[in-house]
């Protein structure tokens, strides 16, 4: 026997998927743009403040008659109609937009995965009841639900737990409005997730390893969340990455209508909404937030598609 046989470390699923992802040019592009975007919105506002002194709320040109300056060295994206630096506002708005996307997706992940997994594993009447409930909620236009939720619980009627959450982050009414938006969007986007997970669990639960786990005395919650959910993770991740852009788009849409994020906070949607008023005179006020958002959404979709191909090689098309 050879003594120095190198033990081959098996490539894990994740390593394999990562390699496949790197072969996909569009997905890599999306990944790079997303990394730049995330870094920019996290540290960008601080850098701008440090170099030029502008913040999202700072109005440098107090007293001038015209406050909307076109892009220049000082203001790379120009200023908005109140004279605030657009770059700072776009980055600030990006924070909110990305946060809405990520947090709402996490809410939908938690709700959707547990709901779908329980329905799928329990089966029978419980499954039937749970999934019919999903069907009913599905039948109502989700945008309607969000609008109703926002207008009923918005303003002074915000549930107290959201208000306390907002105030722990040092924000007032406007911030709790954003938190409300997270929950409202999360609570309507879990439906498809629940269906995806349920389908996965249904096909997994009759496999022998589940029976083997039961035969060794593992409890039902443990079987669902330790043995079954990890096996369904691939499609869940893919679906989650595709949920983020769709939630962001919904948020932009709501903010555009004036229902979502409100001043002094900004999101790409509300920036675009402000910009559209002056589209003929100051087009940069619409173009910059619009392009930034479009770039981000494209990147996220490319990344999501790439991940789907990477994590689910069977359905890969050539």
């Amino acid at each position: 026997m050879a003594e120095n046989v190198e033990t081959v470390k098996g490539t894990s699923l994740w390593k394999d998927a990562w390699r496949r992802l790197l072969k996909n040019k569009l997905a890599v592009f999306g990944l790079i743009v997303m990394i730049i975007m995330i870094v920019a919105v996290i540290i960008g506002p601080a850098i701008i403040r440090w170099t030029t002194g502008f913040t999202a709320d700072y109005i440098p040109s107090e007293g001038d008659l015209i406050k909307s300056f076109p892009p220049s060295a000082q203001h790379p994206m120009g200023t908005d109609e109140a004279g605030r630096d657009m770059l700072a506002r776009v980055l600030q708005g990006g924070r909110i937009s990305l946060m809405v996307g990520v947090i709402s997706t996490i809410v939908s992940l938690i709700v959707g995965v547990s709901y779908g997994a329980i329905a799928g594993y329990m089966g029978g009447k419980i499954d039937n009841f749970m999934m019919r409930l999903v069907d009913i909620i599905y039948a109502i236009p989700y945008i309607l639900i969000v609008i109703v939720l926002l207008s009923v619980f918005g303003g002074p009627n915000t549930p107290s737990f959201i208000q306390t959450m907002a105030s722990t982050f040092g924000g007032g009414q406007a911030l709790s409005q954003i938190f409300l938006l997270f929950f409202a969007l999360g609570l309507v986007s879990w439906l498809t997730m629940a269906r995806v997970v349920r389908g996965q669990i249904l096909s997994l639960k009759n496999q022998e390893f589940v029976m083997a786990a039961r035969a060794t005395g593992v409890s039902t919650p443990n079987i669902i969340f330790r043995h079954l959910v990890p096996n369904a993770l691939g499609p869940v991740i893919v679906y989650a990455t595709l949920t983020i852009p769709s939630v962001m788009l919904t948020e932009a849409f709501l903010s555009f209508l004036g229902l979502g994020v409100q001043a002094p906070y900004a999101s790409w949607g509300s920036l675009a909404s402000d910009g559209i008023k002056n589209i003929a005179i100051y087009p940069w006020q619409l173009i910059f937030p619009g392009v930034t958002m479009a770039l981000t959404l494209f990147s996220l979709n490319f990344l999501g598609d790439g991940l789907r191909d990477a994590l689910d090689p069977q359905t890969r098309k050539f």
Partner: protein, 334 residues
């Protein structure tokens, strides 16, 4: 000990009597074999013992399952869970699908002992390595963190056995443990079960449709057909002097190496019956070589041949006498 166990399944096609009144006893350290064709209720019997029958549609409608003085049927599901894996363990048919592909071998082995023996992570990890060594996996320490797909079928079955024996159960149910493996691995796995059995003093229920497997392993054999026990006898006696036409058919179906090439192999004619629609008479009657009018009309009695040997047939005594005569013939020829 299992007494008059009946497990029925409610289907759209009527009630399927998958297991219909099976009774047997198993002493400490003993091995019993259950043989029969596909669909004869072998697996359902054992799932019933573990209370793993999906309800609905399945239901254990009658009988007692007494394990070490405990009636398993009367326990709550939480109490059953404490027995599963700890005192009664199970090895499954297909090692390729019985391990969770997403979890490391160590995680799956540790889960059992953490659950039942209250091991800490470190203890459980050491125990997992020890168990892998016991079942003969080389280089256990480095392989324990592998994923199931890095193991071959035989190695996975060893892992399953390691998992089943982790808590030193008093009863091991092996549901066709070697069907999915090739013959050499089969022999190794059986040898392993045999050795571990004598080491730990475990009782074993061995389910199989391979008569060769049970011959060398068991003290007693149950022959099942259509959810019923057709014959129960000590292994040697069942092979030499069967008292049931079905058992005789099974034994004759085993290919003989001396069999002349080109000649057809023996097989029992027909197919196993649909257990949802059994005729009133003997379920084996349409396929039986010595069926008579009586067999169509009346369900056969369970005839006691001698102390340990019983057979479900109207003509059990006659078949038994026949077998003895044949045996005498063979001896005379030799």
């Amino acid at each position: 000990m299992v007494n008059d166990l009946k497990t029925y399944f409610q289907t759209e096609d009527g009630v399927v009597k998958a297991v219909d009144g099976i009774t047997f006893e198993l002493g400490k350290g003993e091995t019993i074999g259950i043989v029969g064709e596909s669909g004869s209720g072998k697996s359902v019997t054992n799932l019933s013992i573990m209370r793993l029958i999906p309800e609905p549609p399945g239901k254990i409608v009658n009988g007692d399952i007494i394990f070490d003085g405990i009636d398993v049927r009367k326990l709550s599901i939480d109490e059953v869970r404490k027995i599963r894996g700890k005192r009664i363990a199970m090895i499954f048919q297909d090692p390729m699908t019985s391990l969770n592909p997403f979890l490391r071998i160590s995680t799956q082995l540790m889960e059992v002992t953490q659950l039942h023996l209250g091991h800490s992570k470190e203890q459980a990890y050491q125990h997992a390595i020890k168990m892998l060594e016991t079942v003969g996996i080389p280089d256990a320490e480095s392989r324990v963190d592998s994923y199931p797909h890095e193991f071959s079928g035989g190695m996975r079955q060893r892992v399953m056995i390691a998992m089943a024996l982790s808590c030193q159960p008093e009863l091991l149910i092996a549901d066709e443990p070697t069907t999915a493996l090739d013959v050499t691995i089969q022999a190794q796995i059986l040898e392993l079960i045999k050795n571990l059995k004598s080491e730990f003093g475990t009782s074993v229920i061995l389910i199989t449709h391979d008569l060769g497997v049970v011959a060398g392993m068991t003290e007693k054999i149950i022959v099942m057909y259509a959810g019923k026990v057709f014959e129960i006898a000590p292994t040697a006696e069942l092979f030499s002097t069967p008292a049931n036409p079905y058992t005789k058919g099974l034994l004759k179906s085993v290919p003989d190496p001396a069999h002349e090439q080109g000649k057809d192999l023996y097989q029992i004619p027909g197919l196993p019956p649909d257990v949802a629609h059994l005729p009133p008479g003997c379920p084996f009657q349409p396929r039986c070589y010595r069926a008579e009018e009586l067999c169509v009309q009346e369900f056969p009695p369970f005839v006691q041949i001698n102390e340990n040997h019983r057979s479900l047939c109207h003509f059990a005594k006659e078949v038994y006498a026949e077998s003895i005569a044949e045996k005498a013939d063979k001896v005379a020829v030799v």
